[in-house]
Amino acid sequence: SQKIEQNSEALNIQEGKTATLTCNYTNYSPAYLQWYRQDPGRGPVFLLLIRENEKEKRKERLKVTFDTTLKQSLFHITASQPADSATYLCALSSGNTGKLIFGQGTTLQVKP
């Protein structure tokens, strides 16, 4: 069955450092991969989308890579700030439907 794995343990880093979050998947060939941010008590908020034929995507301090051979995506936040503290979710889709399959999320804590 399809499986998506994100770091289950919280990631704690110092302000100003680069945070790197991992999303691995098996038994799936996604056409798109999305990253969302979720704060406690709130719904997920879209951050970035990357297509299967794209290796890398950037938006301000965010960078996403997508390696369909390794079946892995890396999500980077450079110059991290305490306000970046949240849970980050990766989501995959096949492209012919709106259905997203989410990982369990990784909680990031940026300390001042």
Binding site: Q6, Y32, G41, R42, F46, L49, G95, T97, Q104
Partner: protein, 115 residues
């Protein structure tokens, strides 16, 4: 409204009761999704509407769960004979595209507690 609106924000019900959860999507969005999220987990897909019809209901756990979107806008998720295991946050999302090459906008969720 400016975003996806879900009501109520919180719902406490007794085991065996019937509940309805409402979702008001972003105006003009044809795609609407329901997800369920348990503590410490990512959202789990339930059902997807394109317009008025359910295009994919493969995530509904059993026949106690049903959803409608009669006019292609507001949607209602209905749960019959609620069980304690139904306790979770139910999230609604909408999108302007019928395929997942664009972002989904989520509501704040309805926290359902079955006691």
């Amino acid at each position: 409204g400016a975003g996806v609106s879900q009501t109520p924000s919180n719902k406490v019900t007794e085991k065996g009761k019937y509940v309805e959860l409402r979702c008001d999507p972003i105006s003009g969005h044809t795609a609407l999704y329901w997800y369920r999220q348990s503590l410490g987990q990512g959202p789990e897909f339930l059902i997807y509407f394109q317009g008025t019809g359910a295009a994919d209901d493969s995530g509904l756990p059993n026949d106690r769960f049903f959803a409608v979107r009669p006019e292609g806008s507001v949607s209602t998720l209905k749960i019959q004979r609620t069980e304690r295991g139904d306790s979770a946050v139910y999230l609604c999302a909408s999108s302007s595209s019928r395929v997942s090459n664009t972002e989904a906008f989520f509501g704040q969720g309805t926290r359902l507690t079955v006691v």
